[in-house]
């Protein structure tokens, strides 16, 4: 390493002589970080998405490599967000790929003291059976002499974090089952 290269590798020198007087960019960059590439450059695909937290609706670019999401960043094309994300939106990589997510169905039997594992198909069949039974148990044809054709046997809460298409199917299904206690965060 020549003297000149050695001096130029010194951040304070670069800060004093270069165009980064506050030392927040190029002047502060180490040789190691200079050689690093952002992980987004090697992504196989960029998928267009929307932040799942608040209702501003910031646009996201989801970077996928080898079938895995590797990074989520703001999409500068959006006239809403212009590429910005807040701390929550910036943490959505952790939300979607972090170790805190459960990947398996869990089941607690009546009076049970701990979780057990269940196969998804088994769980779905059990839930369908319970929906049919609770619906029947809470069924009302009439209230006060007026036809109501409904059940009070089952209820649902949730939807503000879901897609429109999901809410559409849920409302359609529950309404056809006669369930009316269908609610979401908009009430709360």
């Amino acid at each position: 390493m020549g003297v000149r290269t050695w001096i130029e590798s010194w951040p304070v020198y670069r800060q004093l002589t270069g165009d980064d007087p506050l030392g927040r960019g190029a002047a502060a960059k180490s040789r190691r970080s200079e050689r690093l590439d952002p992980r987004v450059t090697t992504a196989d695909r960029v998928v267009k998405s929307v932040c799942p937290y608040c209702a501003v609706g910031c646009a996201q670019n989801v970077y996928v490599q080898d079938g895995k999401v590797t990074q989520i960043e703001g999409d500068p094309d959006s006239p809403v967000s212009r590429g910005r994300l807040c701390p929550k939106g910036s943490a959505s990589l952790q939300l979607t790929t972090g170790p805190a997510r459960e990947h398996r169905v869990l089941y607690r039997r009546p009076y049970g003291t701990d979780w057990e594992h269940l196969d998804l198909d088994t769980a779905m069949k059990m839930i369908a059976d319970r929906v049919i039974a609770a619906r029947r148990a809470g069924w009302q044809w009439e209230v006060g002499g007026r036809r109501v054709r409904r059940t009070l046997g089952l209820a649902s809460l949730g939807g503000a974090t879901l897609d429109n298409e999901e809410n559409y199917l849920l409302k359609k299904l529950f309404t056809a089952l006669g369930a009316i206690q269908i609610e979401n965060q908009a009430r709360i």
Binding site: S49, V50, P52, C54, A55, V56, G57, A59, I72, D75, S78, V80, L85, K88, L95, T96, E102, R104, V105, L106, Y107, R108, P110, Y111, L118, L120, A123, I127, V131, G138, V143, G144, R146, R147, V148, T151, G153, A155, L157, G158, G159, A160, L162, D163, N164, E165, Y168, L169, K171, K172, L173, L177, A179, I180, I182, E183, N184, A186, R187, I188
Partner: protein, 858 residues
Amino acid sequence: MAECHPVGFQWVMEAKARGAKVIHVDPRFTRTSAMADVHVPLRAGSDIAFLGGIINHVLRNDAYFRDYVVAYTNAPVILREDFRDTEDLDGLFSGFDPGSRAYDNATWQYAGLEVQAAAGQRDQEYDRRTQGGGPEVAEAARGETAGSGGFPIAAGYPPRDPTLQHPRCVFQVLKRHYARYTPEMVERVCGVPQDVFRTVCDLITGNSGRDRTTAFAYAVGWTQHTVGVQYIRAAAILQLLLGNIGRPGGGILALRGHASIQGSTDIPTLFNLLPGYLPMPHAHEHEDLDTYVQAEAARKGFWGDMRAYMVSLLKAYWGDAATAANDYRFDYLPRLTGSHSTYETVMAQLDGVCKGYFLLGENPAVGSADAKMQRLGMANLDWLVVRDFSLIESATWWKDGPEIETGELRTEDIATEVFFLPAAAHTEKDGSFTNTQRMLQWHHAAVEPPGQARSDLWFAYHLGRLVRAALAGSTDEMDRPILDLTWDYPVKGENAEPDAEAVLAEINGRAADGRPLSAYTELSDDGSTSCGCWIYCGVRAEGVNQAARRKPGRDQNWVAPEWGWAWPANRRILYNRASADPDGRPWSERKALVWWDAAQGRWTGHDVPDFVPDRPPGYTPPEGARAADALAGDDPFIMQADGKAWLYVPTGLVDGPLPAHYEPQDSPFTNPLYRQQRNPARHLPSPHPDNRYQPVGSPVYPYVATTYRLTEHHTAGGMSRWQPYLAELQPEFFCEVSPELARERGLEHLGWATIISARNVIEARVLVTERMTPLTVDGRTLHQIGLPYHWGPNGYSTGDAANELLHMALDPNTHIQESKAIACDIRPGRRPRGPQAAALVRSYRRRAGITGATGTEV
């Protein structure tokens, strides 16, 4: 806004950089206050007094936009002679029945005319509109605050006085109603000094009129009160008087907190609504589709075509099984008999009526008011299904909830069967979110969900498929609606994931030949069209997913109409006909948005005009015209029964035609404005020992607490307390108190505090900060306590849930709880453990003399 909608706040900062003044009204000092020109701390629960004071200032000083008010609002309309205001009845309006705690709104109507509401409690008119009798359903529970607007009106025109001088015209009633909301009264009720209040009045009125507009942004700080809807109404009155509605830079902007909370209201998972704000039918004798439409629809404006919207929905639901001969299966819809809101559901769980419960991305064990009641309700279920990312408190309360710790519940005694189903993330599914400005944006699946995680689309579809298969062949009449349901969606991939775009196509609607519809004006009431949500009709116009459009903002004009798709008809500013004067010219060049192009014979402009495209400004509808045909050329509020914006609401609200200040359910103060203390029509669920109310002005609960959110966490924490980055930024629950309150109660910075209400007790780390300001209210000092509500015991960032403290008294229009203003006590140290916790709550109740009747008086 800077805290909870930080990326949206960049536009406030852009406006500020161009000279806009930013006023922040909030009990605490936040990141928004730091950027504001004026921060106004006020007493939580006093906003109607504050806004009423500004309305009074505008009326007294003739600061209203007269041309706009006369032409576009109901200010000139003359009311019935027998209407009585709160001025006459010391805080009540005419028609109140103390026995049923409900209003008969007959006397609120326009003189000689009956109108139907555009949103809200339309069912209150049912009997009058179908039989000519009085209302029988005391609680219609129909309304939703963020509806599509507009309801029907009777034939003819109400009597008007365009000079605004008639003593019974809305304008004069308004003037008398708000006369007592003086700056002195604002100071007394809100704790806002008169000079600060005058500064706010001057800034707002100085920035409104032909050339300038002022916008209001609000969130649940306004809705979560026992008079929440009337908070918004007060802002609506002010903005209409100032001519700030339907114009660029104006409006009242709801900042909604979840990615698709707007969508889940438009396509509601709500008990009182069907898609597109069609009301769920109530139980009436012999009600069929015609009487439903007769009762609910407006005769003028776009709600006049309600039958077409409803028939198209029934066709989307029941397809070929819905025919004219069987009334399109209108009888398949279940009927309401009052409120069936989430808080009534909790009571139904405790009563053993509701036996099964789905939680779909929601965490009521810490996220709903009176969290203990939520958990006790769940402990009484046969089964519970929780679909979420992580093991939230609503999934684990049977194992490690607060009642296990206090000994009130024992795991071995709880019969509830619990299923936890892992949910797919937004990166793992196709679908659309509707953001806070009614804009749908499509997100595309990037990868498959991991393990057994699935989308809720998958869950709903396959649950329906399994139930239908199990009931196949049933001849029981109760099974007809589920068996006749159209439920054939194409699936794809290894997981048999339903095609979200096929569902969007059903929502958008189809013509008889299957062609996608382009606009809701194409919908028909003869069964030839189907449409799953009429206001979303056009989102797949030409068969193209308009919500997936992503033309970069820099390549478009400032309205950016080619990014996503906003309902209705891709309009970005609702009621924008009001941005032009009655003759169709912009009120000013500076604020031009849409205008009448006489040469083309059409409305044109920067945004999609929110009006009949070719209707000239001077148009007068012929006698007998109905629906959209009855709109005159200067009726900009096209969903309203009379085409005008309502300063005064003759129908649609259950708690009064004008906002009046009432104290919160639990308040340390008696109402300085009226003898009527609380909203007389507020909704109180049936009494329960764990939902007790506090006496007015009790020294046992001398402080006011308000709940809120932080930038680094999301709602009840299900999507943020498990993320290490976010947990590190805000690692645990805390309360914010002023140095004065800390001194008064011996609270130490970074120490612990115990906070107690009549419902429960919690502990929090203490943050002593000047961000909280002691106020002088009604002549004495009031300390307020700030409580971010993100926490529960699970995840990386933990703490007690602030919602433990709340009661279940509700706004009677929306059935939303009063999270934002509750009286409580605070003391140093950690809360007691085990049975001592409940004992402490009981000892406070005893000292305050609380019984089951406390706080339930009218």
